[in-house]
């Protein structure tokens, strides 16, 4: 978790790079450690927006590293990316633009409704923004519907909060792994 926090802080400073080797598990056929450096594909502000909204949707998502998770996966190729988005009819080459458009849409909605950045909204303001977006009520939104975008990032947040051994234990579900993954994601 510490390394994730360090990364979060670093990314908050602006454009940054992440090393794919730091986050890929070893010993699996198609995930050999790589020294390839992946360019960070989302801006610091977009990552903060992601973290902030996911935290309201799924408490614990920010601490669990949802923004690192999403940015790491976006840097991977189609055959190794682990995002749930790949099930949802969005081609891999369009994943980055999907997240960029959705996150800038949220920021735009926040500015329009509250005249402030999403990350500085109070809890109740964030709740009403989320409610508005879930109901597709914000009309100045382009691309995939806002409710769909929130469904996707909520699922990402659920992955990091509930999809790990710790996440299972936190809800009292026996994990019973055959093979515990060497990395959570």
């Amino acid at each position: 978790m510490n390394s994730r926090r360090r990364f979060l802080n670093a990314s908050a400073l602006g454009a940054a790079t992440i090393t794919a080797a730091a986050c890929t598990p070893s010993g699996t056929a198609d995930h050999k450690p790589s020294t390839v450096t992946a360019t960070l594909l989302l801006t610091a502000q977009a990552l903060q927006t992601l973290s902030h909204v996911c935290e309201r949707l799924v408490p614990g998502a920010s601490e669990a590293g949802v923004s690192v998770y999403v940015s790491q996966q976006l840097a991977r190729d189609a055959a190794s990316n682990l995002l749930m988005l790949q099930y949802l009819g969005i081609a891999h080459e369009d994943h980055v633009s999907f997240y960029r458009a959705g996150l800038s849409g949220i920021e735009g909605a926040s500015q329009s409704l509250f005249q402030k950045s999403c990350c500085s909204l109070s809890s109740s303001e964030t709740d009403s923004l989320v409610k508005n977006l879930l109901a597709d009520e914000f009309t100045d939104w382009s691309g995939a519907p806002s409710s769909f975008f929130l469904f996707v990032i909520r699922a990402d947040a659920c992955d990091v909060v509930y999809g790990t051994k710790q996440g299972f234990e936190n809800i009292g579900m026996p994990h019973m792994a055959h093979i515990v993954p060497t990395e959570e994601w």
Partner: protein
Amino acid sequence: MSVSLLDEHVDLIVVGAGAAGCVVAATAAKAGKMVTLLEAGPPRQLQDLTSSQIWARRLKWGGAPVLESGNLPIGHGFNSGFGTGGSALHQFGVWPRLHENDFKVYSNHARGLDWPISYQDLRPYYDRIQATVGISGDSRAEKWRPPADDYPLPPMPVFEQGKTIARGFANEGLATAPIPVAINSTSYNNRPGCLFDGWCDAGCPTGALANPLVTYLPVALSNGCQLVNHATVKRILHNKAGDRVVGVEYVDQQGSVRRLMADQVVLSAFAVQNAKLLLQSSSDKHPAGLSNHNDLVGRYLMTHPATSVYGLFPNQTMPHLGPTGGQLICQDGYADKAKPGVFGSYQWLIANALKPNDLLGIANTRPDIIGESLQPFMQKAAKHMGNMVCIGEDIAQAENRVTLSSRLDANGIPLASTLHNIGAETITMNENAVAQGLRVFRAAGAQEVWQGARFGMHIMGGTVMGSDPATSVADSYGRCHELENLYLAGPGLFPSSGAVNPTFTLQALAEHLLG
């Protein structure tokens, strides 16, 4: 892109190392043929199958994107796999047979298409596969099961979730039976029994579930079959006359184009990719794509309309136990395909093992629950939730099809574009089934019930078989009508979908192809 045309020659090229391809490769290699299995995706080993719904996603389709449209998209991203074992590497092992009436949908109901063979024709191959692979079930309890050999393995145990929901079915006057699964309830053929931990969707690394890595692939390899991974076939080559294939061209991991020649070629790259391969292999003799003079390649694409029903029960259901595919099955009413305004059989797969995350996981069944309410819901559901899924029949329609898009992949090859719509009769069948499911859950004592969205489960059709070349792409052995040594294998051949999971049938068909 470099081109290496070595013109190596083998007896048989099998394209795609999944459920169908591994059966074909094993049978042909055992019969002494020199076989090469070309697989687009990476190699997979059992030890790669880590228990994580997140890591499981790397088993999904990783090739060129498939574009989707229609009111029930086929869900290619979810329903397709990539790499050795194909989609079947993490299939759930639910293996019911088609029913006798599934083979004559057009004759009996003037909808869709007929099969060129009957259930009786296919039965010996079902029985043979069943004995080789091992299926657990209770043939007597499955009162709707067509004539068949008894299951070689005793049924899987039923846990609290299954027992709870079964009471609801009984209260509604409906029968349930232990689910027939290609999972060992006890050890069989040197493979261990199941541990009932519900990790099947991430791929079963123990060998209890009959994925190709533990069934047909080892037979193929031990009989000399050569498996080449990262080999994406891009074109089927034919002779001057255009009536025989002579080999294939494929792109290797380095992006080089290679050529391999063969006496026979079997396409087992799954429904969409099989159709795409034929379409993109157009030539002067086959200007609209191979074996497509009647504009049938890509048509009659099908997916099973499916919807899940969920509930919270007062008693502990322990929903993490059992296989992902479910503990019980109900096919009551399967025989009655047509009622006024409604068409199609359906079945219930009952008490699927649940995990917290992923598309089918607990959290995503209730996207409306957010914020502080989520954790209490998750804690309750982890102990008290029940679920089941209805799988319905699709009607084969010519308009539902795979075509080539104007968008190109990295190798300059057109992407596959798919269109799939269902009509009012199918929608009503699905809605009636869901209403029944909600009644069953209430009758089982659920305190809260809800349903998921309708989605497409499994992919079939696109290169359908039939006796008449004017209405089908291949004959009853999967041989293309227009090219005598080009065969198709897999669910793309199905002229009707029935309402059952397709893998048992497609493997029986692959055996039938080889006689």
